[in-house]
């Protein structure tokens, strides 16, 4: 290969594709070697390649979306503490500071410089949600960050190839499942090492550090231009939307004003709730930005490989001290209780501008953590199950039932859960009528019932959402059904609790919102939904104006203005 890089559209395509495949290899290495279910099975991580300035270039194709937006910011912040010129071969950097990282302590950002001919040319980065980071077991009740666990300021996890033993010991001493957490950290570092090797081979083939720098600019500039083009095709304007979400003790109010001018777009969250003093649901600016960017990326440039160039046309403002720009040391552990509603607000605002590519609100995931000692052998178990509600409907299709959005991850199979924790899953099923009515129906949510087995209580922590305020419909669609939870049929406050042997914890996850006027939904689709038990005959009549006689199988539409009795 020649030393002067030739960056025609073909070389860029070929080299860029290769960088993505490097990250896919790193991703596989993480998955295959990770210890915790949250990383290994739930995929709550991202692996990203960054340039020497900490700008993101390439990520694995299944990287968790929000992390891919926060890590470049994290890397730049960490490099302020450890300037790139001071890094040594074999250094690995780490932080979980929420304000620098992805907004709460369990997310470790781990970044390793890649050296080439004595110079740092790039970084291999990973953000992963580890199984435990110490602190309180509950999800919401911390009064400040210090109650939420171990905070690791920007630090060297490895120094010139040697582990920072003290830091490892501090982590080990502060988490409930040190084998898992340290196992995951090592899996990540090992995977990044593989990525460094692969990037090395790439640099040998494609003009070394200079070639890489030139490629970086091309990737970022072309991506930015593509996003700007997409924005130009959208009408200019200013759109507002407001919604309320559960919050914790008090609801969270979200207000957004989206302004689009030419090839720029700005989101302003002024008017949203102040930061919470009594609930761990505050968002750092990195989160607010990431969750504002995500719906735009999905709507405007879904096929393009993700990188920092696509972020550039977006600016975001939230007043300091608000729930979306919280200040140290606010409690943030369950910040996705707030951040996961941002896309709903953005789509609500953009529904008038780009109705073909917006989506109604989704049920999203609830975190369930089961912790205790196993009656079989007294070993400690810590199992995460991340079930999902239904997805919001879009202009082209019904929402899918029980699928991750906006986060992405795999639910832990029942048989795996039962093998790891003394739990019997009594049912896991779709909830009839939970999908919001619409021209396109919202996806159904699910109900899960967990019975505790054995001779001792276990600690169950859950993080529900959309129990007070359901996922909204869009453009005339109705909201999905709200969630609910109960122990032995009785409503309980959300806090980690000892659940005794024989007790049954039931969780009902919300359905997705509908899209468009339900009365426009084809009568055959409504009838099929009734036949399959997705919609009851009563709701078919009430929400869709379609009368279905289950016995005779006849269906007819009721004139819209007539009174339908359930």
């Amino acid at each position: 290969m020649s030393l002067t890089p030739t960056l025609d559209p073909i070389s860029i395509e070929v080299q860029w594709n290769r960088l993505i495949s490097v990250m896919d290899e790193v991703d596989i290495a993480v998955i295959r070697t990770a210890f915790s279910t949250i990383v290994g099975e739930s995929r709550d991580f991202a692996v990203i390649m960054l340039d020497r300035l900490g700008r993101s270039l390439a990520q694995s194709q299944l990287s968790s979306p929000a992390f891919t937006v926060t890590l470049p910011a994290t890397t730049k912040a960490v490099l302020k503490h450890f300037p790139v010129e001071t890094l040594e071969l074999g250094d690995v950097l780490i932080t979980n500071d929420p304000w620098l990282g992805s907004g709460h302590l369990p997310d470790l950002s781990i970044v390793a410089p890649v050296f080439y001919k004595g110079q740092v040319v790039a970084f291999m980065g990973c953000v992963a949600h580890v199984a435990d980071i110490g602190g309180r077991l509950d999800y919401f009740d911390a009064r400040d960050l210090f109650e939420e666990g171990l905070r690791i300021p920007p630090s060297k996890l490895f120094i010139a190839g040697k582990p920072n033993t003290q830091l490892f010991r501090i982590i080990e001493a502060n988490v409930r499942v040190p084998d898992m957490v340290i196992g995951d950290i090592r899996a990540i570092v090992g995977a990044e090492q593989l990525g460094a090797q692969r990037l090395h081979e790439f640099l040998d083939d494609h003009g070394g550090g200079d070639g890489f720098a030139a490629l970086t600019e091309e990737i970022l500039d072309r991506s930015e231009a593509a996003m700007r083009n997409a924005l130009r095709r959208m009408p200019d304007g200013e759109w507002r939307y407001a919604l309320d979400a559960d919050g914790f003790r008090t609801p969270l109010h979200i207000e957004v004003k989206v302004t689009k001018t030419g090839d720029k777009i700005h989101a302003d969250f002024t008017g949203s709730s102040d930061q919470f003093k009594d609930a761990s649901i505050n968002c750092v600016p990195n989160n607010t930005f990431a969750d504002t960017y995500y719906p735009l990326k999905c709507s405007l440039t879904p096929e393009l490989p993700n990188n920092e160039g696509l972020f550039r046309p977006l600016t975001v403002f939230a007043p300091e001290g608000s729930a979306f720009n919280t200040t140290m040391p606010s409690a943030v552990k369950s910040r996705s209780k707030s951040s996961f509603h941002i896309h709903v607000a953005i789509y609500g605002a953009l529904a008038q501008a780009i109705p073909q590519v917006v989506q109604a609100g989704s049920g999203s995931f609830w975190a369930i953590t089961l912790h205790g000692t196993h009656p079989d052998d007294n070993s400690v178990f810590n199992v995460h199950i991340l079930p999902n509600g239904g997805k919001g409907a879009t202009a082209r299709m019904d929402g899918l039932p029980t699928i991750a959005f906006p986060y992405n991850g795999t639910v832990t199979p029942t048989e795996i859960t039962e093998n790891q924790a003394p739990i019997l899953v009594e049912h896991k099923k779709l909830v009839m009528d939970s999908g919001g009515a619409g021209l396109f129906r919202g996806g159904l949510g699910q109900s899960i019932a967990l019975r505790v087995l054995g001779d001792r209580p276990i600690i169950a922590s859950i993080r529900p959402d959309k129990v007070r305020f359901p996922p909204p419909g869009i453009l005339g669609g109705l909201p999905g059904a709200k969630g609910a939870y109960a122990i032995n049929g009785k409503e309980v406050p959300v806090e980690p609790r000892n659940v005794s042997p024989g007790d049954v914890y039931t969780l009902v996850l919300p359905g997705g919102g509908g899209y468009g006027d339900p009365h426009q939904r084809p009568i055959e689709s409504v009838a099929a939904d009734v036949r399959n038990g997705y919609v009851s005959p009563g709701v078919a009549g009430r929400d869709y104006g379609v009368l279905v006689d289950e016995k005779s199988g006849t269906v007819r539409r009721v004139p819209q203005d007539s009174e339908v009795v359930r």
Partner: protein, 718 residues
């Protein structure tokens, strides 16, 4: 006409063509035939193709000792949703699991992401009260009385097939068996499949989809095998029909009737088996197989004479080339990755102004622009014509003349103009981009196996494979490329050279240090017994020479999310020491990922057993020696582009059929045969072995600067 009975017949019904191969087991002489597939009644095409084949070889049906069949029937039934009206019965509370799935999105930015509909709609999914715990102990007995209601509903539903999947049934199949027996008695005509037989592995969603898929294709497979067997009988072949399994073994019609889902993708699998057969004869026991045709490229791996296997495949994908968009099926598979890259793959410019190739393909109709059948899009084959890889006058041995001007025109209009580049740069671009697409997939695949490509040859076949193989092998720093003789008909050879064999898997979840070896051995022994029964079905005694029984365990560090399949050597199996088994896991994990955590306990998830007969001893024919060396095969010279040097070189063109054993020459070179053209780059050392296989050796690259890698970081003790 001979009276011998040792001819082997293989036939592979593909989407477009049915391929036949007949081989004389004694001499290795082969006869080939190809005819159009007759989708309405595939057996008709078979009978039509067999006549000429038998005539050509002067044999009759009764001379055939064994007939082996591969088919796309199952794959297509799943894609086209043409299977049986299937119902599903599961533990109360879980009928929605097949629809809920893993809850993950396979594309994180696609708002309109679609998932395949479950094979059984919700209104045909039934529940029954029963429950086992994780150890297979009964918590709730099977409600036998309520099964009568289920039977009634199934009858009213006109269900033709039923899949029964209960939680934890891989530990104890009693409830599933009892439910099957009761329902079978009530509905004797219905196909009933139970998960403890079809896929006794942990993870209920995948076990459900697998059992459902098996039930879904069972009625049509049964009928189909009957028809084919009858047809063969009419042709004078009265013995048993054997079928190619996705796991790379062949098995009897009876086993295939019971587990039809195990035949999915059996055709492409045969290609890998052919590679194993050639490799065995050529003394190459480890290779990467690369089969590139018109629409897709398929890549497999062979290690120590065995195809690497996986335990899952997706069927009926919504988006053919998107992993995760299909229905998961847990069966032992020869692992093949399929990439949307073939001769017909279409080049286009994307939103970023970059050149993309595929996965859309011009297919056979209209085909690439140079076919002159109205193809209006630039394809890989068109690029290969521009670059000099293909001779427009010797396509399919001259049976078809390629329209070079048409190729130039579509390139000018659809690539050169929008990108402002020359024709040659545009064509080079298409070649490089499609290669990179394949390389990315190959690298990830090889990485998933924890292997180093530098150890392997690339065994290349299919219409387009040998033209692209050199560049792929060079980029991966592989040893070189091997193109077998008759690279256009390689796959069918896999059918007639493969052994009877069957794979079993059964989950048994426990820490190794908390379970007695006798319990584990019991599981292996029961699978071995079943395997020997499959061999007995095929008339092979358990103590016949060469029968092999191979055991493996899926193991992981306790708490880890995924398992590693660890083969258990015979000695270790005999000894049955749990400590030794744990050590085998640590070693395997270290080999694959560079580290292991010996302080953590090892957890067993699944036991696996493969029972195989020895492969048939079919000789590979030596090609005759020739005089005159390479010069005798030289057809001429033409200008050919090579990425390696970034220029067109005046390149000699050889006639493959005139290259004799031990002929050697240096690249660059073009070697032409009827069905394909091999391209050897400037650094290739080309030679021919005794069987007529073409080698393109690639000298190893100088080791590059290894600095910058964090040595041992992951292994260092904290």
């Amino acid at each position: 006409m001979t009276s011998r009975k040792n001819f082997r017949l293989g036939f592979d019904i593909g989407g477009t063509f049915t391929d036949f191969v007949l081989i004389d087991e004694e001499t290795g002489r082969t006869w080939l035939n190809k005819c159009l597939t007759t989708p309405h009644d595939p057996s008709q095409g078979v009978m039509e193709g067999l006549g000429p084949l038998f005539a050509q070889a002067s044999v009759k049906g009764e001379n055939v000792g064994i007939a082996i069949h591969a088919t796309t029937l199952i794959t297509n039934a799943l894609i086209e949703r043409k299977g049986a009206r299937t119902a599903f019965l599961t533990t109360a509370g879980f009928r929605d699991v097949p629809e809920m799935g893993t809850e993950v999105r396979y594309d994180i930015y696609d708002l309109f992401l679609a998932k395949p509909d479950p094979l059984v709609p919700r209104n045909r999914r039934y529940e029954v009260s029963e429950r086992l715990d994780k150890n297979g102990q009964v918590l709730t007995p099977l409600d036998e009385a309520s099964l009568r209601d289920v039977a009634r509903a199934l009858r009213a539903d006109k269900a033709e097939a039923l899949a029964i999947v209960f939680l934890h049934s891989f530990r104890n199949g009693a409830h599933e068996r009892r439910a099957r027996d009761i329902l079978h008695e009530a509905l004797p005509g219905m196909s009933i499949c139970i998960s403890s037989e079809v896929a006794p592995e942990i993870r209920e969603y995948e076990r459900m989809t697998t059992t459902m898929a098996n039930a879904y294709v069972q009625p049509l497979t049964r009928e189909y095998i009957d028809i084919v067997e009858r047809g063969l009988k009419e042709m004078g072949y009265a013995r048993r029909l054997y079928l190619m399994m996705s796991s790379g073994g062949i098995t009897t019609g009876q086993t295939a009737r019971d587990f039809p889902i195990r035949m999915v993708e059996s055709g492409p699998t045969a290609g890998v088996l052919a590679a194993i057969y050639f490799g065995r004869n050529m003394g190459l026991d480890s290779m990467v197989s690369f089969d590139m045709g018109g629409t897709t490229a398929k890549i497999g791996m062979i290690k120590k004479g065995q195809a690497t296997k996986s335990n899952m495949i997706e069927v009926g994908r919504v988006d053919r080339f998107k992993k995760g968009s299909g229905i998961p099926v847990k069966i032992p598979m020869v692992e093949l990755i399929e990439i949307g890259a073939g001769g017909g793959s279409i080049a286009h410019i994307d939103q970023l102004g970059l050149l993309k190739v595929g996965p859309r393909s011009a297919g056979a109709m209209p085909g690439p622009a140079c076919y002159g059948r109205g193809g209006a899009d630039p394809t890989v084959t068109d690029a290969n014509v521009v670059l000099g890889y293909l001779d427009p006058n010797y396509f399919l041995g001259g049976a078809m003349t390629l329209d070079v001007r048409a190729a130039h025109e579509v390139f000018e209009a659809k690539v050169c103009k929008p990108l402002g580049m020359s024709l040659n740069d545009a064509a080079r671009g298409v070649f490089e981009v499609v290669n990179q697409n394949m390389l990315a997939a190959m690298k990830v695949h090889i990485a998933e196996r924890g292997e180093d490509p530098r150890k392997f040859y690339l065994f290349s076949f299919g219409g387009a494979g040998p033209a692209h193989a050199y560049e792929l092998a060079r980029a991966l720093q592989m040893r070189g490329v091997v193109v077998p003789p008759g690279a256009g008909a390689t796959s069918a050879m896999g059918l007639v050279t493969t052994a009877v064999s069957f794979d079993f898997a059964r989950s048994l979840v426990s820490r190794l240090d908390k379970i007695a070896w006798s319990d584990v051995r019991g599981v292996f022994e029961s699978m071995t017994k079943d395997g020997l029964a499959v061999l007995a079905e095929a008339g092979i005694a358990a103590d016949a020479p060469g029968v092999s029984i191979v055991h493996a365990m899926d193991l992981r560090h306790k708490g880890q999310g995924h398992e590693v399949t660890v083969p258990i050597p015979e000695m270790a199996f005999k000894k049955g020491s749990m400590t030794d088994l744990a050590q085998l896991f640590y070693d395997a994990h270290r080999e694959k990922y560079g580290h292991a955590h010996t302080n953590l306990a090892v957890e067993l998830i699944t036991c696996r057993t493969t029972v195989s007969a020895p492969p048939p001893a079919v000789p590979l024919i030596h090609i005759p020696a020739g005089a005159g060396g390479a010069a005798a095969a030289l057809k001429g010279k033409r200008q050919v582009y090579f990425s390696e040097v970034g220029a067109y070189l005046d390149t000699p063109v050889y006639d493959r059929y005139k290259l004799a054993p031990n002929v050697r020459f240096a690249g660059p070179a073009i070697i032409e045969e009827r069905e394909c053209t091999a391209v050897a780059g400037p650094s290739a050392q080309v030679w021919i072995d005794d069987f007529g296989s073409l080698y393109m050796d690639i000298p190893p690259r100088k080791p590059n600067s290894a600095e910058g890698v964090m040595n041992d970081v992951a292994n260092a003790n904290a």
